[in-house]
Amino acid sequence: MSDAVVETIDLTMRFGGVTAVDHVNFTLRERELRCLIGPNGAGKSTFFKCLTGQYRLTSANGRVFIRGADVVGMRPHEVVRMGVGIKTQVPSVMNGLTVTENLWLAARRAHGWARSTAEVQRVIDEVGLADIARRQVGELAHGQRQMVEIGIVLAQDPWLVLLDEPAAGITGAEVERLVVLIRQINQSASVVVVDHDMEFVRMLGSTITVFHQGAVLTEGLAPQVLADARVREVYIGNRTQ
């Protein structure tokens, strides 16, 4: 419990008859980089939403601690104010505003007026958004909007970063750039990444937690997890030798 950035105890979330998250005990240490993988419907995004308050929790759902603080019952903006940055599964950005304006809004809440402009510039440089800084976000390609959203997350200077499918819809060189960026973020923040792209996850080289049917199936480093027969089974659906 002591140096855990995120800790969930018996976290459970049900929707009607479906148990999306099933008594999950999860721990993330400071400055750790973790990947969550699992087939569709495994509960990864729901798990995220429980951490961020996007699903309103009660004590019946279990316990969730972020840097020791009990966040059960908190609203998303309260969780975020603690220092948590969230990139959602479907890019959630302000389409009618420019990249710079989006970043500014993110930076402003965390920093004062005077520093915001500088912070925005820092993020533009770090994420590589200079070319599109003045473009309206709604006009950008999907991959660019993903990067903008990551920029928004960074502009808040979080110590915990939750990225839900950051590699969705981007390929090749952009993925490599993303890996570098995430490692860079990891220097100053703890990071949890949810994704499907196994190449991407392998490139990140972190500890992997495998979800299946709402529960943690196994946990470990990439080579051993990916070689695990059970993992292959839940992904592919039939037994392999």
């Binding site: 479906v18 995004s45 975020v80 302000m94 009618g96 304006e101 809004l105 809440r109 402009t117």
Partner: protein, 382 residues
């Protein structure tokens, strides 16, 4: 690098010119009609501020206009001097709006339901005030008067000197200064972080929440400010008509301010002002003849504007103007210059606004033709 477009900027040239025209007007022409036009313009400005920049459409903004009018009348009859009543006329609508707004926004209701609730509030006030005929319905010395309203209350006077009434040209100046002042206040709000966050909320409420902003708090705040301005307009209106009737709360009144704002242009501050003044003038002219029915024309205008000029007259004109500038640049034949012109236009993003901007409301029902599903049945993605 300019980090934000012009929503907070005041074009001082235009503003001072307009202020000069307004302030010098009485020298050249009659002020009686222009006074009410300015009052209506202030009413529309209050709605336009909230609707255009925060994306909050109140279907019953007349509630706060009317509350301002009634509060002034009741207070001035009881107090006798007009300074406190004026203040109350601004405060009471603001407080009521704060309560109703908090109830709505902290309850996370969607756009549609906000429309319904605000409409119902003004309906309640209308019905209640219409039914208060009879001596038992009085607040202090002021009889509410039911459908006939409250006539013959003292007009605004010089603060501290109740004998000196501000009837006539001074009333015009009060209206003009109120409008100019509220315009400046609105611009100031928009230039602050507060205003920019409002625009962000309009664009994507969920994301603003995830940036750490308390969205309900911002919405309640702008709703309150808007109601305060509407209340001021209502108070001035009471002074101009020298009677307050339940009609200020009516559906007609609520519809008119929306029409003025839409026609003028949602997403700008000057649009609603001009729309209100123009259509207000039309209404007054029409009121004096019986050939074309008022409702018919108002309705026709609304339908045509919604279909043909979805963003309103002023933004359409602005777009046309910028389009011409771009064509001029393109014709000069320099590819790179064209690129720059496009990004300049993109930089002005906060004014590029659609009335039904998606991503705003949380629980708004999906529309037909988009393959939408009922909110209650949206599949839960793990």
């Amino acid at each position: 690098m300019k980090a934000w477009p012009s929503i907070g900027q005041i074009r001082w040239g235009w503003f001072l010119a307009a202020a000069a025209v307004l302030l010098l007007w009485p020298v050249f022409a009659d002020t009686h009609t222009p006074t009410v036009l300015l009052i209506w313009a202030l009413f529309a400005l209050s709605l336009g501020l909230m609707w255009g920049y925060a994306g909050l459409l109140s279907f019953g903004h007349s509630a706060y206009f009317g509350l301002g009018a009634y509060t002034y009348a009741i207070a001035v009859i009881n107090i006798g001097e007009s300074t406190v009543p004026l203040l109350l006329a601004v405060l009471v609508p603001a407080v009521v709006a704060a309560v109703i707004g908090a109830m709505m926004f902290y309850g996370r209701i969607s756009d549609v339901y906000m429309g319904v609730i605000t409409l119902v509030v003004t309906l309640i006030l209308f019905k209640f005030m219409s039914a208060t005929a009879g001596d038992q319905y009085a607040i202090g010395d002021a009889r509410l008067g039911g459908f006939n309203g409250i006539p013959g209350f003292p007009i605004l006077n010089v603060p501290g000197m109740p004998e000196i009434s501000l009837f006539g040209v001074p009333m015009y100046y009060i209206a003009a200064v109120s409008l100019l002042g509220c315009y400046l206040i609105s611009r100031w709000i928009l230039a602050r972080s507060f205003g920019r966050v409002l625009v962000g909320i309009r664009e994507n409420e969920a994301r603003c929440e995830l940036l750490g902003y308390s969205v309900p708090a911002y919405k309640t705040a702008i709703f309150t400010i808007s109601a305060a301005m509407a209340g001021l307009a209502g108070c001035l209106f009471a002074n101009w008509t020298e009677i307050v009737t339940p009609g200020v709360f009516s559906l007609r009144s609520a519809a008119e301010v929306i029409v003025w704002t839409i026609v003028g242009g949602v997403g700008t501050l000057i649009g609603p002002v001009l729309g209100a003044m123009a259509l207000g003038m039309v209404k007054l002219l029409l009121g004096e003849q019986t050939v074309i029915d008022n409702s018919l024309l108002l309705g026709l205008i609304l339908v045509v504007v919604v279909l043909a000029i979805p963003r309103g007259v002023v933004p359409a004109l602005q777009g046309w103007w910028r389009g011409r500038a771009r064509i001029r640049v393109q014709r000069a034949g320099h590819g790179r210059v064209r690129q720059r012109a496009t990004t300049v236009r993109s930089g002005e993003s906060a004014t590029g606004w659609r009335r039904d901007a998606p991503g705003g409301s949380r629980a708004s029902a999906e529309a037909p033709g988009t393959g939408g599903r009922l909110p209650a049945q949206r599949a839960v993605r793990p």
